[in-house]
């Protein structure tokens, strides 16, 4: 397993380079433009000048190599300098990856937003998993019971009604009509005492619950299906015949063997926390990474989108590797050698 992990990690490096190149190519080909949001009163020659000042006058391979240099060499160096408070070489003139819209280093923007994203999305994911697994297990164990039917109905509605809609319903109901929760996330809010903590909880409830519902619906379906598959297997009968307690049959044998698809779905979902939930963040105005990404895409802010997407790609590769390793732990029969 250790050798396998090392080999996969080594293989990930060329993969990620290919991915970064393809992302860059797609962003370059995409027909939206950084001057697209400027008022029409700004004449075309000025727009052309702005494009050149952003470095768009240079050929595509050079721009890609520049980004590689900035991201793979300059940014890590800069991080090391900040952590250890030293300076390596000519740190004053080292170019960092600069966003076109804000003219500030992309990595700083990401660092500024990471806490909000992790809190809101991470929490919604955790809640989603905590709801989904019990519901999935019980639904499968008592297949076609009333609990199962209701669970199925809610999760289907939860999945088929998009978050832009559930979010809006929540705002109209809880903010406009009842006035319980704020509809706009205050990102300058700092938790200092109990009252401000309570405010923080109130402003997080709606985005977290909307996302958790969506995640839980999907996850609980896979959990239920997988449990059903395993419940009818021979080993379950054997375990019961051996006189094992029903609880331990269910939770130790069946659950463990049913987790493989669930682990896959969770591993696919976790990088999404960093990519942000674009629509939900837009609706509730949580200044997460998803909102940063959508603003970047709308404004054709190529360095910003490239960097965010690439970090996202790294996480995907990483989490899929973790999932593969977990498969081996959950089911020792799986061998990769």
């Amino acid at each position: 397993m250790f050798n396998y992990t090392i080999r996969r990690l080594l293989f990930a490096i060329p993969t990620l380079f290919v991915i970064s190149f393809l992302i860059f190519a797609i962003l370059d080909l995409a027909p939206n433009d950084p001057t697209g949001n400027l008022p029409l009163t700004i004449p075309p020659e000025v727009r052309e000048n702005i494009r050149i000042s952003l470095g768009l006058g240079e050929p595509f391979p050079i721009r890609y190599l520049k980004w590689c240099q900035q991201f793979f060499i300059n940014e890590p160096l800069n991080l090391i300098e900040q952590w250890f408070d030293i300076s390596i070489g000519d740190s004053e003139n080292r170019l960092r990856v600069q966003s076109w819209a804000t003219r500030s280093p992309v990595v700083d923007l990401i660092v500024e937003r990471l806490p909000q994203t992790l809190w809101v999305l991470g929490l919604s994911y955790v809640i989603g998993i905590l709801i989904a697994i019990p519901i999935g297990v019980i639904s499968a164990y008592k297949q076609y019971s009333i609990f199962d039917q209701i669970g199925t109905f809610i999760s289907m509605v939860g999945f088929s009604v998009p978050t832009f809609f559930t979010g809006l319903v929540c705002i109209v109901f809880f903010s406009s009509t009842l006035g319980w929760f704020p509809s706009i996330y205050d990102t300058t809010h700092e938790v200092t005492d109990l009252a401000s903590f309570w405010f923080q909880v109130k402003q997080m409830i709606m985005p977290v619950m909307v996302l958790a519902l969506f995640n839980a619906s999907q996850l609980s379906r896979f959990m239920r299906a997988s449990m059903l598959d395993n419940l009818s297997q021979d080993y379950v009968r054997t375990a019961r015949a051996k006189g094992l307690k029903e609880r331990s049959v269910l939770l130790i044998h069946v659950l463990r063997n049913s987790l493989i698809p669930v682990v896959t779905v969770i591993a696919l979902g976790l990088p999404q926390i960093f990519a942000g939930a674009i629509i939900t963040e837009q609706i509730f105005r949580v200044n997460g990474l998803g909102q940063l990404l959508i603003i970047g895409i709308q404004g054709a802010d190529i360095p910003l989108v490239q960097t965010l997407t690439f970090i996202f790609a790294v996480l995907i590769v990483l989490f899929n590797l973790i999932a593969d390793i977990l498969y081996g732990m959950l089911d020792p029969r799986i061998r990769y050698e």
Binding site: A30, M156, I316
Partner: protein
């Protein structure tokens, strides 16, 4: 790789005579499944409503009537009208035709690609690395810019080849299919990895069963349940994604209703004319529920351990 993936459906037809009784069994089992029958009935009713409905309720969904805008439900307009005076009932029915077609076809495409890649990657060790890295790549690509590139490169070509409507339909189905197969592929692969080490597969292999037959007889039936869940989720996903596409200018023209689009356009009118969002939302949910129960029934019917119990 393409050889292998192509061989699966071919194999299925090849073996049809031998399986006829099996499918008969499956059907009779399926009929005894209450949920499946209810799901099937709901789904068929929705299909009937959108296909036959417009011949009964004959208002043109694109016909504007500014004087009668934002009306509540009435006999003339059972679901009211929108802010341009278009009849919501007619729009929901017309939109259903497109949404159902796009949803089902795109879901089948993504399911086919996802299952093929998942089975191949899980079963053949050599293919695992390349195919899973390809999956990683597709997962990592930024969706919106990718769509914009696809529109730019292919819209006009397809339009001139197949005409505006068919061309756009092919493009939408292709785009949704190609951007949503990855989850299915990863899940199927995970299941195949465990399955292929289980006794019955090892036994089959030891008596010299060819790989294609192991896949079709032993692997595929056992990964059916996650595939069915993917199918249910895939339909909902395709219907919603379709509406997102039309905002980028990739979908059907703006006056061409679809369920996702009706829901999106109506969202801001939620308090004024709630029926504009309730009905399309309900239609999507019912369709997905129907497909879900049919999937449940099919899975049970195909499971030899349950069948005949």
């Amino acid at each position: 790789m393409s050889d292998e993936s192509m061989s699966n459906p071919a194999l299925a037809t090849e073996e049809m005579p031998e399986r006829r009784s099996l499918w008969g069994d499956v059907w009779s089992q399926f009929r005894t499944h209450k949920g499946a029958m209810v799901g099937a009935v709901v789904f068929v009713l929705i299909c009937l409503a959108v296909v036959v409905g417009p011949y009964i309720h004959t208002l043109d969904p694109q016909r504007l009537d500014i004087l009668n805008k934002n009306l509540g439900p009435s006999w003339a307009h059972p679901m009211g009208t929108d802010n341009l005076g278009r009849d919501t009932f007619a729009q929901v029915m017309a939109g259903g035709r497109v949404s159902l077609l796009v949803g089902v076809v795109a879901m089948l495409l993504s399911l086919f690609v996802g299952t093929a890649i998942g089975v191949l990657a899980g079963f053949f060790k050599k293919l695992d690395g390349p195919l899973m890295r390809l999956t990683d790549l597709f997962l990592a690509l930024p969706l919106l810019p990718l769509l914009l590139v696809i529109i730019m490169l292919f819209r006009d070509t397809l339009r001139s080849m197949f005409g505006p409507e068919t061309g756009i339909f092919i493009l939408i189905v292709f785009v949704i299919g190609i951007t949503s197969w990855m989850q299915t592929a990863r899940i199927v692969r995970g299941d195949v990895l465990t399955l292929k080490e289980q006794e019955f597969v090892v036994a089959a292999r030891s008596i010299g069963t060819p790989s294609r037959r192991i896949i079709s007889r032993h692997i595929l039936p056992n990964v059916l349940s996650p595939i069915m869940v993917s199918a249910t989720l895939g339909i909902a996903n395709a219907i919603i994604t379709e509406s997102a596409l039309s905002f980028l200018g990739l979908g059907f023209p703006s006056d061409f209703p679809t369920w996702g689009r009706l829901l999106y356009d109506g969202a801001n009118f939620m308090q004024l004319t709630p029926s504009r969002v309730i009905w399309p939302g309900l239609a999507i949910s019912l369709t997905v529920l129907g497909v879900n129960y049919m999937g449940d029934g099919l899975r049970d019917a195909l499971d030899p351990r349950i069948r005949g119990r």
